[in-house]
């Protein structure tokens, strides 16, 4: 284990590294066994588990897993966690990943918020004074009431956040709806462009979170060729309740795997031959060249295209577009609007993939008996993401590899439906909605935002800017939004967004912008109930807790919202006279009755969790089996390669200069995409999900930050040019900001692009130089809503990197 010396593995070099580390470890002063003492009587736990109380709960952050935690509790304190150990180890077990196994450090952290607080300094400065719960409830109730009285309900907004999933979480809508409603939001930061683009191809009901428009990962066991675009379960969905284990079994079933990514991601670590490196944001160019080869070699499934699709060639173009060379085939073969033939030689310099490698991949696709194409959510998180998501789906469409065993639609894998209800939110009388990414614009100049220019839905324009913002268990005010420096500037004007309420467990960067900051109890500190996550293909429920008491004056979200409702004279309406525990029991019983197979309430309380496996599904199987009986929700009822509706809608849009919306899925680089680098910013940059965090959740856990260092990935060639060595501290600058981060100099990333793990906690002197020392990528991502979705295409980014 010669540390970085690539030498013979002598004991001496290994030990040298070890000793260096230990010296520093000692300097850090952490006492062994110092974090949370186990029982005083010295009884060893673990094996002697009978002595411990076992309490069931879940990791409730948003990777999709919702993995199981079996708390071992002694004297009212969590001492350690086990995870799902029920059933055969080789079978379905919702095993928590490294994050879930570290959540005790978060729960018992000295950094937990303990008291309700009111802002004292500037927004973003993080200065607060303690207040009583009564003062907090009254102040927030007054602000909410005044906002509605003065500006109307459209001025009230709940910011996007996904850090807590529970049957009784995110309760603000229920209160706001009792007061006449609030400005709604649509889409999310995960799949924003895909949610906007894909319905034009597969129909209105197509979304990334269901089991109709995609196949489950296990279905790929029947495939002979699995092609992944920006899809790395081992980086994004790592727990045992996620598909990372399903994927391992797919590989072992024998399919050839092609993993297309700008990084050699962890899904293909150990299997580097699976990696096809590509320049970030150019997936659609690769698809174009593959399509060219399939068409040129007469390898498309013309029968499928004629029967199930619209717009492949003139044969199926809608009347409005016939005879105008607007078909997909025209575009690919060089007779379309740009008159450019999309050959592998055309794609090679764009994608950085050699033309012969593209030809080989096209030949493999043509030869596949069951092609499983699946995209993650990274490719669409670009400013050309609406087109990219649709373009990737062209591979199964062109080959007719949809709706059949071992195939997929090109979407990310299917997700099971839930079997559990949640606390009813009531009806929102306000119909106006903004894209969740547009909240900052709506706070800044909402009254100028329109449907045509800004994607306002349900109305032609907004009647007011956002004046009251509620932010629960989320970090999308700053850390997980974009252009944090802009956020800071916009929010300084307190005449615009007048009141910000943040509820969280620790001082996140978003929390620093709160006018009222309220300490939340972790779900382990209250009765918690939630279903399985939205990843691996099974159904389940967990009920349990509290495992221990919340620290200080931290309160359950349910009690916080009830307290505010009380000041508004709405407590009885909000609670209906029930405690959270009573709601959970009622929700469970109703769900169990509807489901018919779930255990009784007494049984689930005793056993803590329930799960049942589901059979794999094949995406669009019903449509392919009988398209007349099961048409898609497109105007034609078919797969719309050319979306006439999109052509019509695009004509009504007021697009920013350079933005493009097209009825067929083309390769357009998009804002800060391919070709946008400059002498000042000569590198492309992209964020990626990192093992130590789910977004920014767990970002404050020291143990994870040590074991998984926050590092920018930079290719040896780019690093050499800049005199950067592995482990060096670097400055990364974009057109909007600068941050400091350690370098991982590695061949695992394509030259010309750097990769930054997203979600690290922003750490800058905002009144001073604003240089982020935390390595938070949203310090440097510009705020430029994408053309069609108006979403967060933040992986389109250009930077310069220098040794700091």
């Amino acid at each position: 284990m010669a540390m970085n010396e690539a030498a013979t593995l002598s004991r001496r070099t290994f030990v040298k590294g070890s000793l260096a580390g230990l010296a520093l470890a000692g300097a850090a002063g952490s006492a062994l066994y110092g974090c949370a003492p186990k029982s005083e009587d010295g009884a060893k736990d673990g094996g002697a588990a009978a002595a411990d109380e076992i309490v069931y709960s879940q990791c409730v952050v948003n990777c999709g897993g919702s993995c199981l935690l079996r708390w071992h509790v002694q004297d009212g304190k969590i001492v350690y966690a086990e995870t799902d150990n029920v059933g055969d180890a080789a079978g379905l077990q919702a095993r928590a990943c490294l994050r879930g196994r570290t959540i005790r450090r978060w729960i018992n952290s000295p950094d937990r918020l303990m008291k309700p607080m009111k802002r004292e300094g500037k927004r973003g400065e993080g200065k607060f004074k303690e207040i009583s719960w009564d003062e907090a409830y009254q102040g927030i109730a007054d602000a909410l009431k005044n906002t509605i009285d003065q500006y109307g309900n459209e001025a009230v907004y709940m910011n996007y956040g996904s850090g807590v999933s529970s049957a009784t979480s995110r309760l603000f809508p229920r209160l706001a709806n009792l007061m006449g409603g609030y400005l709604k939001s649509y889409a999310d930061y995960s799949t924003n462009m895909m949610q906007s683009g894909m319905p034009y191809t597969y129909g209105d009901k197509c979304n990334p979170y269901d089991s109709v428009y995609a196949s489950s990962m296990s279905e790929a066991e029947k495939s002979d060729l699995v092609i992944m675009f920006g899809n790395s379960p081992a980086d994004t969905r790592m727990g045992g309740a996620n598909i990372v284990y399903d994927f391992a079994k797919v590989r072992e079933a024998g399919a050839k795997i092609v993993n297309i990514d700008y990084r050699l991601n962890e899904t293909s670590s150990g299997h580097p031959d699976e990696w096809l490196p590509i320049r970030t944001g150019t997936d659609a160019a690769l698809v174009n060249a593959i399509a060219h080869e399939l068409i040129a070699n007469d390898q498309v499934d013309k029968e499928f295209l004629d029967k199930y699709c619209v717009g492949y060639d003139e044969d199926t173009m809608p009347e409005s577009a016939k005879g105008q060379n607007k078909s997909y085939k025209d575009y690919i073969m060089g007779t379309g609007y740009d008159m450019v033939e999309k050959t592998p030689e055309w794609a090679a310099p764009i994608t950085q993939i050699p033309a012969d490698r593209i030809r080989q991949l096209a030949a493999d696709i043509a030869a596949a008996k069951a092609l499983f194409v699946v995209q993650g959510w990274g490719p669409q998180r670009h400013n050309n993401g609406e087109n990219t998501s649709r373009a990737i789906c062209m591979l199964p469409i062109l080959t007719g590899m949809i709706g059949k065993p071992g195939t997929n639609t090109g979407m990310r894998e299917a997700e099971p439906g839930g079997i559990l209800g949640s606390m009813p939110k009531g009806e929102n009388p306000v119909k106006t909605a903004i894209n969740c990414y547009q909240w900052l614009n709506a706070a800044d100049h909402g009254e100028q935002m329109t449907a045509a220019k800004d994607g306002v839905r349900g109305a032609d324009k907004l009647s007011t800017g956002i004046k009251f913002l509620w932010n629960y268990g989320g970090n999308c005010i700053s850390n997980q939004h974009s252009d944090i420096n802009l956020v800071y500037d916009v929010l300084q004007d307190e005449s615009k967004l007048e009141c910000i309420v943040v509820i969280d467990t620790v001082m996140t960067d978003s929390a620093k912008y709160a006018d009222y900051l309220l300490p939340d109890a972790m779900r382990a500190e209250q009765m918690h109930m939630a279903a399985n996550g939205y990843a691996e293909y099974y159904n389940g429920v967990v009920v349990g807790g509290p495992a221990q008491d919340a620290p200080g004056d931290a309160q359950k979200e349910y009690d916080i919202v009830s307290g505010i409702a009380d000041k508004l004279g709405l407590k009885d309406d909000f609670t209906e006279g029930k405690t959270q525990e009573q709601w959970i029991e009622e929700i469970y019983k109703k769900s169990a009755e509807k489901d018919g197979n779930m255990p009784s309430w007494d049984e689930i309380k005793a056993q803590g969790h329930y799960k049942r496996e589901l059979e794999p599904v094949i995406g669009l199987a019903d449509f392919v089996a009988d398209p007349a009986k099961n048409p898609l929700e497109t105007p034609s009822g078919k797969i719309e390669i050319y979306a006439e509706r999109l052509a019509e809608n695009a004509a009504k849009l007021e697009l920013a200069e350079g933005d493009v919306v097209t009825p067929i899925p083309v390769f357009d680089p998009g804002y800060l995409g391919y070709g946008s680098t400059t002498d000042e910013f000569p590198l492309y940059a992209s964020g990626f999900h990192y093992k130590s965090r789910t977004h920014s959740s767990y970002g404050g856990v020291e143990e994870l930050n040590q074991a998984c260092r926050q590092q920018i990935w930079i290719n040896d060639l780019d690093a050499q040019e800049r005199g950067i060595g592995n482990g060096d501290k670097c400055s990364v600058k974009s057109p909007v900001g600068e941050m400091l981060i350690e370098a991982k100099v590695t061949p695992r990333i394509i030259p010309g692009t750097v990769g930054i793990p997203q979600g690290a906690w922003h750490d800058a002197d905002m009144a001073g130089d604003r240089i982020d020392k935390g390595g938070c990528i949203n310090t440097i991502t510009p705020y430029h809503p994408s053309p069609l979705a108006k979403g967060n295409g933040v992986h389109s980014l250009i930077v310069q990197v220098a040794k700091a």
Partner: protein, 211 residues
């Protein structure tokens, strides 16, 4: 005497470190001490094929290592105070905290970077979760792995159950040194012990340098 040990399937390991963190949680270890560590071994280079197009032979894989409970433990041989013992029934190697004098001979002699000295100058390391094993359970890391890349048991039985295993891949040293009780299913990228084409890419992480 039985000899217990770990089976590690490097074809499945994604380097997620759930094993490492589950251990840290159960053993209540601070950020800078880990009894199980995951090594990222990487190598390869890029060739400019002109026109901005590149080719590469990059490889990367992970090795998750706790104590290998060696048949011939170097730590035990070098300990001047006789504090390191090998259990007669299980073959597990453990450090007697009463006898340990903290001279660190085990730290420098172990070829696998396993024992560490804590702030109290006592040597610490993976004990194979002897308490759990005594109860008929697996070490906590084994039951934690999301992709079931770890197994535990009599090492000879594990070797019989999994054909084609080896007792070392780079960056591990040759198993000849201490006869480690480990059976590894090598991934396609795996290199032989002594390989010089790659390097440990996460040195600071595995030497417990604070972030």
């Amino acid at each position: 005497m039985a000899q217990y040990g770990f089976y590690f399937d490097s074809t499945r390991c994604t380097g997620c470190k759930t094993c490492e963190m589950a251990c840290k949680d159960y053993k209540d270890l601070p950020a800078t001490i880990a009894f199980r560590k995951v090594y990222d071994y990487e190598g390869g280079s890029w060739t400019d094929a002109g026109d901005g197009i590149y080719t590469t032979d990059t490889f990367a894989y992970h090795v998750s290592l706790a104590c290998n409970h060696c048949a011939m433990p170097a730590c035990m041989a070098k300990c001047p105070s006789g504090a390191i013992e090998k259990d007669g029934k299980t073959g597990l190697v453990h450090i007697d905290q009463e006898k340990c004098t903290g001279v660190g001979a085990c730290v420098t002699s172990c070829p696998y970077n396993v024992p560490v000295l804590d702030d109290a100058k006592k040597a610490q390391k993976c004990d194979g979760c002897a308490d759990r094993v005594a109860e008929g359970l697996n070490p906590i890391c084994v039951d934690a792995c999301p992709v079931r890349a770890l197994e535990w048991g009599d090492i000879e039985e594990l070797r019989a159950a999994h054909t084609g295993t080896v007792a070392g891949i780079a960056p591990m040293p040759s198993p000849d040194e201490t006869t480690p009780s480990i059976a590894i299913n090598p991934c396609p990228a795996a290199k032989e012990p002594g390989d010089t084409t790659g390097a440990i890419a996460n040195e600071k992480e595995v030497t417990n340098v604070p972030a």
